[in-house]
Symmetry: C2
Subunit: 149 residues, 2 copies
DNA sequence: ATATACTCTATATATTTAGTAGGCTATATA
DNA sequence: TATATAGCCTACTAAATATATAGAGTATAT
């Protein structure tokens, strides 16, 4: 399950992606528009900045902007940085592998064999979907709704 | 991330699947063989019994058995019952749908559009993999290791 | 100078996870 | 029918994680 942290982070970053190239947006503005506690969002955006997903400008007229264009930032990178590894068990994680202590032979662990498929599938989707892709998906969904009437 | 609860449950249930048809296995036996705290496993197996995944026999010679043959129990059913919905956000869950309060229009929410794909993919894998399938995967993995030498 | 806006450290609260303790109930079998 | 076996049920607790909040500090545009 996505935590609020990741969800808030994604909400804010999608606003930044939508207005990419139009200058910085303040934390206060993002927080208000999405109904996110300001102080909480502050710490989330800071984390994303440290990962070089966002860039910030201080002082008047300042705020946050994407550090890279929307097609160069994937959903996977964001979720991983805010919620940790995508893998359901650490022993199938590629970015944060950790052995299960008790596991006698990892290669023949049934749970691992299944969860590896799950991890690969999640990673394929999230790493294969950029912010630009998401914006396009939203547009498509909007058009579909229009065309129904 | 899978909780220990789900992991322990899966470990125990895979032992039961392997010896399906050979009579009941006690909690104490399962706990010892997998290094699981006995009392914790007790509550896990009870939950699986209430879901009609396991069946139990009391008294001497008693213990737990699968309530159905291994090909009729899916990984998805087990994980859902122990850890809750597979969906990363409640608004894309089929078994436990819940609306996001703040969300203005669910149909055009970017996070939802992406997470729906993730949910469907996880559900396809876990609901499409039975305990029998897992046992077969383990066997295949064993043979692969053999054939390397 | 001054207001704006991000940065950093510390703290608080709620919820979930991961257990533990102990008595109760049903059953096989001697 | 006594007894040991083995699951059932209720309650409690400790630790970790999630979800924030407070307040002082720092950089910057005007």
């Amino acid at each position: 399950m996505l935590t609020k942290k990741a969800k808030y982070g994604l909400q804010a970053i999608l606003l930044l992606a939508k207005d990419y190239g139009k200058g910085p947006i303040t934390i206060a503005d993002l927080a208000q528009r999405e109904g996110i506690p300001k102080k909480f969002l502050e710490s989330i955006l800071l984390a994303l900045k440290n990962r070089n997903i966002l860039y910030s400008l201080k002082g008047k007229g300042g705020g946050y902007v994407l550090a890279r264009p929307p097609n160069e930032i994937s959903m996977g990178e964001i979720v991983r940085h805010l919620d940790g590894p995508l893998a359901p068990v650490p022993c199938v994680s590629k970015t944060a592998y950790r052995r299960c202590e008790e596991c006698e032979d990892e290669r023949t662990c049934g749970i691992r064999l299944v969860m590896k498929r799950v991890r690969d599938s999640i990673a394929d989707i999230l790493d294969g979907t950029s912010l630009e892709d998401v914006l396009n998906m939203i547009d498509e969904a909007r058009h579909e709704i229009q065309n129904r009437f």
